[in-house]
Symmetry: C2
Subunit: 214 residues, 2 copies
Amino acid sequence: MASPSSCTRSRYSNSGGDSLTFRALGARLGVDATAVYRHFADKDELILELVDRLLKEAMAGFTPDDNWRKTNVDIYERVRAVHLKFPRLAVLVASRTGRRAHEFSAVEHIIGALRRAGLSPESAGRYYRVLTEYVLGYMIEEATFRSLDAATQDGDRRAWLVEYRALPDDEFPNIASSIDHIPIDDDPRIFGWGLDLLLDAVEQQIQAPPPVST
Amino acid sequence: MASPSSCTRSRYSNSGGDSLTFRALGARLGVDATAVYRHFADKDELILELVDRLLKEAMAGFTPDDNWRKTNVDIYERVRAVHLKFPRLAVLVASRTGRRAHEFSAVEHIIGALRRAGLSPESAGRYYRVLTEYVLGYMIEEATFRSLDAATQDGDRRAWLVEYRALPDDEFPNIASSIDHIPIDDDPRIFGWGLDLLLDAVEQQIQAPPPVST
DNA sequence: ACCTGAACACCGTTCAAGT
DNA sequence: ACCTGAACACCGTTCAAGT
């Protein structure tokens, strides 16, 4: 209800404000900013709890599909959706291993789908990590970008509409030839394109003779 | 020379300290913390300049290879190496579009390699973005993790050596079967595995009939 | 058992004043 | 043309004190 403070200027010029602070949290809850220390040892403990609640919300109502690929896409889209919903939290959260119940469950389902696809335990373990690292990395970048203030975001987006288009053709012939087809940085479709590409390659590994591993 | 301040406790419990601050910068340069405002409008301007210098360092001595795949891997490895060298800077930098000379040059070389591989302007533009988003996302996540303090990093790493291993086999059979083969979060080989998988899929697109695009 | 509030050691940024 | 230094509005965290 009561706006916590005017916040005319944020701590970083490119930060959109409203990040998670104990003072804002206390104001919102009507208690002192330090009251949170009665419940969590420090800010990191709070964040780990939030990782788990985020994954709980993401996985609510999930049931695995017979199609392993659909199952994995479903899980990763769910996790991404909830991070998009809380981008300022996602920045703090997505590089961490939550190591709590709802993360365990999501991991079990992902690896289960890869095993059902016909992957060996070795390949399932490795590709679980590669796929998940792609998704987490993408989400952090996306959330970081969306946490910037509007003007900074627009400046970065405009780079692909203005600066990259203004480059001299003779010096940058390849950019010139493709510029109409380079998606803007934060085009939401990129996530799915990359995930599909990775899953295509994994599917290829299943059909092809197993490659030499390192 | 002179350590700027003891810094026994950092602003966030999980931040490793030594991030980029105007006060630390001023102390290091022997000037007042606000002197930087004589040269940059705000912190964001400083960061954009640093993006360009990072890419300049990354691309120093680069020459494209005849092999398009080698060329792209070389560029992406160079960019990653320089971000690994300055992880606390990488966190601030890797989600941004630098839109300056050295970024233009790197983009030109990446798209050029994809065109030489036989991709259409459409596909080259799209896959440039997908590959780059993978690399940037991976780097942000890696840099964010390496910017955590040592104890927090160890806690996350230990999750895969302790918590995930302690899970009951009957409830988590797929994790149990693969646990010996799941790489730790920050295994440096994951980057290359993911990039190779994406490039495998791109190569597949070149050989196969072009797919319907969306 | 839980909360308060002053204090500490930090932030980016502004601005009047210096040279 | 460039720098200083006080000030402002913020941070996470500690700790003695309250109920």
